[in-house]
């Protein structure tokens, strides 16, 4: 591409500004004769959109002015190196908020949970096919994130979004490498190296999502990317195996502490085996749709694994996702099981709290540090697995140990010899609950498949529980 001079860039930018300005016309004025709380909320939303629109235009105006000055300076004989440096400063300052972060001021678009999934499903059904196709083509981030839309639609939109985000991350990586090669001062070197590390982490996580959805029967039900989060942690996704819109049984797995989308390919392998064990007509979902707490966040009161903050935010998102599965179906309801591991069990319980997800039939907590006073589902539909040697499951950090709570049925994680001669492997520690061929995974499969009578029961009480009882006396 031939480099554009400041004068040519100003002409192009002026035309783009006019297009952008016209878009704001749709936000002029209030919706006529609409009053009440909903009207006020809509007005606030419109006002916020108008402010962001004005900020964008002001930002463009600032750059237009800088381009004009650069054009005049070059024409007036100012050394190009001086004009280049001055223009670079102006360009660096644009597109950021007052604190120096990337604009816009509002959080990134994360439509999940923004509107009622039943309403979304009705709205989508009422659109004509051309409008649906246009939205899917032009606004993949919106369509892919709307709980309540058909899985196939979300999958197509999210795959398009994934390709865009991968392209953007690759371009960012190339730019970061070039910056690193250019800088000479120590502070610049550290900054550039950090930027390169960050963008490579994001690229790796996006590649993991791409690997996870690269297989028959896979569907990318959600994808959200916030490039400003560190270590690529701003990549959230939900990947299904099987058709959640038609399956008779759907199991939704939520992970816990230190997890991220980088483990999706391995998790999908486990969920494939779980679905096979559950029986025909089963779909599973690896739901990595919240920012799981990380090790370096333990001291942050808002993000710590020791607090409920991430679980409550994740619970709202998970509830919306689960309601969306229900809303998107046109046939009979599925039998839905929510499965939460470790801190993911706290998230799952938050999603099932009163006022939360309504369409979940069974819940299974794996290696849970407690889920609060109520297990989330009635007796006979709330299950817990605690493996021997799992220290997390003995903490009772978030309430009573679920394997001792009334109304919760314990499932075995020990080695079991079946009547047909097969031996299911025992699990040990905190991370092997879904290992294919284990008693634990087979039991979870039985619940997900609507066959709890086939599960091997066990309270999972071990040395940790006995020790804690001694200390509680």
């Amino acid at each position: 591409m031939t480099p554009a001079t400041p004068a040519l860039a100003a002409v192009r930018l002026l035309a783009a500004r006019a297009d952008l300005a016209r878009l704001g016309d749709v936000l002029a004025g209030a919706v006529p004769d609409w009053r009440g709380a909903a009207a006020r909320e809509a007005q606030e939303a419109r006002a916020a959109l108008r402010r962001r629109h004005e900020d964008l235009l002001a930002d463009v105006d600032g750059v237009l002015a800088a381009l004009g000055v650069a054009t005049l300076a070059l024409a007036g004989g100012t050394p190009p190196a001086a004009v280049d440096a001055a223009l670079a400063l102006a360009l660096d300052a644009a597109g950021r908020d007052a604190t120096g972060r990337d604009a816009p001021h509002a959080p990134p678009t994360t439509p999940a949970g923004a509107v009622d999934p039943d309403g979304v499903a009705r709205w989508w059904a009422g659109l004509d096919p051309a409008a649906r196709a246009a939205l899917e083509r032009d606004r993949p981030a919106l369509v892919g994130g709307l709980d309540g839309l058909p899985a196939a639609v979300r999958d197509r939109a999210n795959r398009r979004l994934l390709a865009t985000e991968q392209g953007r991350a690759l371009a960012d990586e190339r730019a970061a490498r070039e910056r690193l090669a250019r800088v000479r001062d120590p502070i610049g070197l550290v900054t550039a190296a950090w930027e390169l590390r960050e963008v490579r982490a994001r690229l790796a996580r996006l590649s993991a999502v791409a690997a996870a959805v690269d297989g028959p029967g896979r569907a990318l039900l959600d994808l959200e990317v916030d490039p400003r989060r560190q270590d690529g942690e701003g990549v959230r996704a939900a990947v299904a195996q099987g058709d959640v819109d038609t399956a008779a049984h759907v199991g939704v797995f939520t992970p816990g502490f230190t997890t991220g989308v980088d483990e999706l390919p391995r998790r999908l392998e486990e969920l494939d085996a779980l679905a096979a064990s559950a029986g025909p007509g089963t779909a599973t979902v690896a739901w990595y749709g919240y920012d799981a707490p990380q090790v370096d966040e333990v001291a942050d009161p808002d993000r710590s694994v020791l607090g409920r903050g991430p679980a409550e935010e994740g619970g709202r998102r998970l509830a919306s996702f689960l309601d969306g599965l229900d809303a998107a179906r046109t046939g009979p309801d599925a039998h839905v099981t929510a499965v939460g591991h470790s801190y993911g069990s706290v998230v799952t319980a938050a999603a099932l709290a009163p006022g939360g997800a309504g369409g979940v039939d069974d819940v299974v907590y794996l290696g849970s540090p407690g889920v609060g006073p109520a297990p989330g589902r009635p007796p006979g539909h709330a299950w817990v697995v605690e493996a021997p040697g799992d220290p997390v499951a003995d903490t009772g950090w978030f309430g009573p140990d679920p394997n001792r709570a009334p109304g919760v049925t314990g499932l075995s994680a020990r080695e079991v010899a079946l009547p047909d001669g097969r031996v299911l492997a025992g699990s040990h520690g905190h991370v092997g609950y879904l290992t294919p061929g284990s008693t634990s995974a087979t039991n979870v499969g039985a619940v997900v498949g609507g066959r709890p009578q086939d599960a091997v029961l066990d309270r999972g009480v071990g040395a940790g529980d006995r020790l804690r009882r001694v200390f509680e006396r």
Partner: protein, 92 residues
């Protein structure tokens, strides 16, 4: 309150967002350079990326707001005032 007016306002937002080239201002500065190895060129490329994200997100939120208005209109038409009451905002 006219559900039709509400629906029209929502449809206008969705249509405007759909018609918007998210890369408009970004493409205005992408490729800008004064010197072959100068600082303005990478600064312009980085600004183009920031603007592409910012305008894209604003368009997404505009479409979400339009969808919310459309949803509220549909709920009013169905006589479900309670549902309509929680569907006003859309864009977060």
């Amino acid at each position: 309150m006219s559900p039709a007016a509400l629906q029209a306002a929502g449809a206008a937002c969705v249509a405007a967002a759909g018609a918007a080239p998210a890369d408009g201002p970004a493409e205005g500065v992408r490729g800008l350079a004064i010197l072959p190895a100068g600082r303005a060129a990478p600064a312009a490329a980085a600004l183009a990326d920031r603007w592409e994200v910012a305008v894209g997100r604003w368009c997404d939120d505009l479409a979400a707001h339009g969808a919310a208005l459309d949803l509220a209109a549909a709920a009013y038409l169905a006589g479900d005032d309670d549902a309509a009451g929680v569907l006003g905002g859309g864009a977060r």
